[in-house]
Symmetry: C2
Subunit: 423 residues, 2 copies
């Protein structure tokens, strides 16, 4: 079998990461870690495998059908996790008595969905998860948003490049109630509204009718969706409504965190996952070319659903795929991440010991040093050096050893510096 | 259901990582990455899921029975990878025509084995993999060893703490041949020898007999195992044997890399995996308290077996479990990794904006700042600050805002510094 027709490939829909792919992935993960760390989030992680029951219990409706499920040799129903939140809830519930709340935790988690392979969608992606558990005030929402914006900034995206659309399920519920739509119709209404943009408004109308709304209630839903500002929405509610107080505080907190200019009230933001109960948000590129960069919101019932005491939480998920598409398309992909520092080569076995001693000394000084594994002709050495590429190169021949110096060559500027050799 | 008896746990044999567990894991992974980077290895990664056929084709005999296999919804046979080497071989074979050899690649990969749950063994672990592909000379072995030793040094383990036991399957084969044991008996002999220490010498004798060796051949094997030095082993072979030349070069290279004092010839080192063909090695703590810290060797047939052109390689695997046990047991576990930098709290909502402005400014200066999510009484704030713990804390009350300064308190020394506030 020829090497150009290898027998094996990665499983369908899953990515291999060659060194040139890892350059960006490492940069992105380091950025996520750095932003989380600067905001004092603490890291956690868990197996990619979870019990199927946990995932079915907590995952959103759409996700349940896409779970990558299987049985182990003992017949246990397991699955590759489609998202990290059920795992987080399980871990916190298990130690709820001893953990000190509020918690600020983050993870970078590979998540799997068994989707049909259309439009280049993959069956796995990495997601940065930020969660704050046990803080009722809206400063939790602002803290996860500020941390995500910090990551965007570190990736070179300015405040004008991204807009964060937000709404509130609590607000939506209060408005629906004010419009005469009873609480038990709300979940179906949220689900229908979340389909906006994916299916036609006509089909959404049909869904609303099917869920039991009458004509005038459907008309109220459409009127509600035409609300363009937070002020207009709040004006419908009684001034002493807790929703009004909460959203006014949210606006004030965003201003204090210098983020007001990036935020946009958008009543159409609902989020697919069933567990959200309060503020919900999705961040888009300002040109609206791509799917959401990140999204999230507040959930109140997650811990109770896995056996814990009821505890409020706020979560944000930021995937690795859309941000890469955007940086590539906008010409902002950092290109220098793969460049190596220094490579050392030698002409004959007689210079190997001398080259090794130099490499060891430079590594002790904290430099990245690639030491040739065998003798090379100068041409071969320099072509290899410029291929990765390395920033600089030292090539040692017999003359260098006898005069006790070698030349360090800057491969960009071609400038040369003398380096003493120990022989 | 009470929170002390949560419904869900991690799947049997798999680890959750709480923040206190992540502190060491991050330190270890950063150390591995740093050592690989300093030696100019390039990162790669691949899905934790692979086709079952690939893994069965390449994995060692023992591993095949422990593969965590399952079927996806299309009936494809997949598995959680038990080791990274088959994946590496597949990725390289797929691009063999365009990659520039030799390659120096590394990965930190979670690997899964479905073992019976005895003696606290887990069903997953993380393994640092270093591989050099396409370099025939023994400088490849020395380079992966030097990189692993660099990681040990960064973890605080000195040259006297670890001994690297090595042998060579090529040497063992040449010795068996010199003792009159034909090549087709070698694989079974290697497998029997690899069981040493796990089963009795009597049982190994039985295995050797069962594989077709007669009494005098078995006696030759035992004589061979009594060889205590490399010199004694090489003296048996003709001086012009390529094995003699290779191992003499190996010794010289180890000296040039200042590693000779850590190495110990040990003819009993065989390694379980079927694919090794040359040098094999395992590193142990000097007191021999623990299982091997890392192990590896040269494999010549791996790429051909997945459809690639025959290409030699050297690999090293370094797991996360034994090193953690050793550092813990020896009292060398770094304890400060979890400590936070600075936390800022405030007494009343009126000081929130001022505290936020200070937090934003300090984060811009590159400091890690935890900003309280709500007002706290001083006692509650300082108890939270010392719990994580943070290195220092700023607590802002109304008096601080009016005088335009707050106190930064060093939580270890109790020293206080004045910090100007913007109001």
């Amino acid at each position: 079998m020829s090497s150009e027709a290898p027998t094996f490939a990665a499983p369908r829909g899953m990515r291999d990461f060659y060194p040139e792919d890892m350059a960006f992935r490492n940069l992105l993960f380091d950025t996520w870690r750095r932003a989380a760390d600067m905001h004092a989030f603490e890291p956690y992680d868990a197996p990619v495998v979870e019990s199927l029951e946990l995932l079915q219990r907590k995952a959103g409706e759409e996700i349940v059908h896409q779970i990558y499920a299987f049985q182990d040799k003992s017949g246990r129903d397991l699955a590759l996790r489609p998202e990290m939140t059920p795992t987080l809830a399980r871990m916190i519930a298990a130690r709820q008595g001893s953990l000190a709340f509020p918690l600020k935790w983050y993870a970078i988690a590979q998540c799997f969905r068994y989707e049909r392979m259309t439009r280049g969608r993959k069956r796995e992606h990495f997601q940065w998860n930020l969660d704050i558990i046990g803080e009722p005030s809206l400063s939790a929402e602002v803290e996860v948003l500020a941390t995500a914006v910090d990551a965007l900034t570190r990736l070179g995206l300015g405040r004008a490049d991204v807009r964060i659309h937000y709404s509130s399920r609590a607000l939506l519920a209060a408005l629906l109630t004010a419009f005469g739509i009873a609480t038990d119709h709300h979940p179906a209404t949220f689900l229908a509204l979340d389909k906006r943009g994916k299916i036609s408004d006509e089909d959404i109308g049909a869904l609303l009718h099917a869920s039991g709304l009458n004509d005038s209630q459907c008309e109220a839903v459409w009127r509600l969706l035409r609300l363009e500002t937070l002020e207009a929405a709040l004006a419908i509610l009684p001034p002493d409504s807790p929703v009004v107080a909460d959203l006014s505080l949210f606006t004030r907190l965003l201003a204090e965190h210098e983020m007001a200019d990036m935020m946009q009230f958008d009543i159409s933001i609902v989020r697919g996952l069933a567990y959200y109960t309060g503020i919900v948000f999705e961040a888009f590129d300002a040109r609206r070319q791509f799917r959401a960069l990140f999204g999230g919101g507040r959930y109140d019932n997650l811990l109770a659903s896995v056996g814990g005491r009821p505890t409020t939480g706020v979560g944000l998920g930021f995937g690795d795929v859309v941000i890469a598409e955007l940086l590539m398309e906008w010409g902002r992909m950092p290109v220098d991440a793969m460049r190596g520092d220094l490579t050392i080569g030698y002409m004959q076995p007689e210079q190997r010991a001398c080259a090794t001693t130099l490499a060891l000394a430079l590594r002790r000084d904290g430099r990245q040093v690639d030491l040739a594994l065998a003798c090379e002709k100068p041409k071969h050495f320099f072509s290899r050096a410029s291929r990765r590429p390395f920033r600089s190169a030292i090539y040692i021949g017999p003359d260098d050893v006898s005069r006790g110096h070698a030349r360090l060559k800057d491969l960009e500027t071609r400038a040369e510096t003398e380096i003493p050799l120990k022989t």
